[in-house]
Symmetry: C2
Subunit: 258 residues, 2 copies
């Protein structure tokens, strides 16, 4: 069997520990190409750069792996990988991460890591975003590597039916304390924000966003629940945001305006 | 009945023609507060500013309307509106737009306008993003105003069942040529990108993203179809990205790893 072509990106930049760990796992499974932001792009979501130019720079950061930095967002990186670098070659899989910090629940919406994976899925490529529940720049990714490898192997071998995007979150535990892998739904949740208000050196006020994630989702089938129990959560995801359940009611509500 | 509190934002900045039109419509329906980006933020998606400070500036751009600019993204604007300005007052509805250009189909994922509306929906507020199919900065929003008003009135009066987020796109036609309002699903589609490659004044290469939206969705129930037929498309939307259809298959595929 031909070695699969594995495209890797992230949002913490090519210099982060999480992408290094992901490259190390992927190298055992196929041909790896890395196209990742030159600077941290956390919480950049699905943003793209349209009002300015992008630069592409070859990087020798990973031994034996073709790698590039882009001075843009995670989604810019995937677009440049597909349309500038790979062109007629299509990746067999897109991997993003491993993110330093959780992308469970609604964090999928803010996350640059998950947006890179979603951009892969929009191109009809099976795509997986990985996140470790440790925000530290020096987080230890070794314990989760066997699970990351298993999930990539499964998808390379069997694909994903009725989805082409997985949101994988990993509890920050030693390998033998991770209880297993659970297929979950996205938990409901919200960021209860607060803004720190201070004055800059010139006496002008500024605000700095800070907040706390809160979930009152009580189901036992959510990603947050699985993570709290010590399991890796895998949420099959999609980019069709239509609220199909609402269609009939909406049609009734807008009857007469058609 | 108490006048509803209407929070308005957008992604084309507070100086755009589209938000002016939306404010004018909303003023006839309730108390309006505007919190919008100081600079254009198209294609910023659900990005938020976490690595730097935000500034809030009062604006008298709209006569008789409390208005502020934020030097950040559309989602920053909604967060500052809710947590810094309004605090214990909760808007009855969040409106975003009117965007200069389409946010139909998968454009909902890239759009700052729709992200502002989605941020409202995450706060459990009924939220509507409006977009006119004309990218021009001098687009004429007068013809669509009666329809925009009708949709806001409907939602203020009846709410939205099984959803709290509407993606409304409006064909660029005279009022009497708009055929009506259709409830739709999000069309499948993709941006086929190309990057213009040039050299900067110093001889260094750069890339500039450009592309064409392509949809091979042949259904007659999609937003793209309705717009092509001359209808306004209304897609009830959601922020739960779980691919529920995939759950059973995924559980089977990962049996043994639980």
């Amino acid at each position: 069997m031909k070695k699969p072509l594995i495209l890797i990106s992230n949002d913490d930049s090519i210099f982060a520990g999480g992408i290094k760990a992901l490259v190390e796992v992927a190298q055992t499974l196929g041909e790896v190409i890395v196209v990742a932001p030159a600077l941290p792009q956390s919480a950049q979501s699905h943003a793209i750069t349209i009002s300015g130019p992008l630069r592409l720079k070859k990087s020798d950061i990973f031994q034996g792996v073709e790698a590039y930095t882009v001075n843009g967002t995670p989604v810019d990186s995937i677009k440049m990988a597909n349309y500038v670098i790979l062109k007629d070659r299509k990746p067999d899989i897109v991997l993003s991460g491993i993110n330093h910090g959780s992308n469970a629940s609604i964090n999928i919406l803010y996350s640059g890591t998950m947006a890179a994976a979603m951009e892969g899925s929009l191109e009809n490529i099976n795509s997986i975003g990985f996140s470790l529940l440790d925000y530290s720049p020096t987080a230890d990714f070794e314990p989760c590597k066997p699970f990351v490898k298993t999930i990539i192997e499964q998808v390379l071998e069997n694909g994903i039916e009725h989805s082409n995007l997985l949101n994988v979150n990993i509890p920050n535990l030693p390998t033998d304390e991770i209880k297993g892998i659970r297929i979950c739904r996205q938990a409901m949740g919200i960021w209860k924000e607060s803004f720190v208000e201070k004055e800059d050196p010139f006496g002008r006020p500024y605000y700095w966003l800070t907040g706390a994630f809160v979930s009152d989702d009580e189901g036992d089938d959510s990603d947050i629940y699985a993570l709290n129990e010590g399991y890796i959560s895998v949420v099959p995801s999609m980019h069709d945001l239509t609220a199909y359940k609402s269609m009939d009611w909406m049609k009734e509500s807008f009857r007469g305006y058609e």
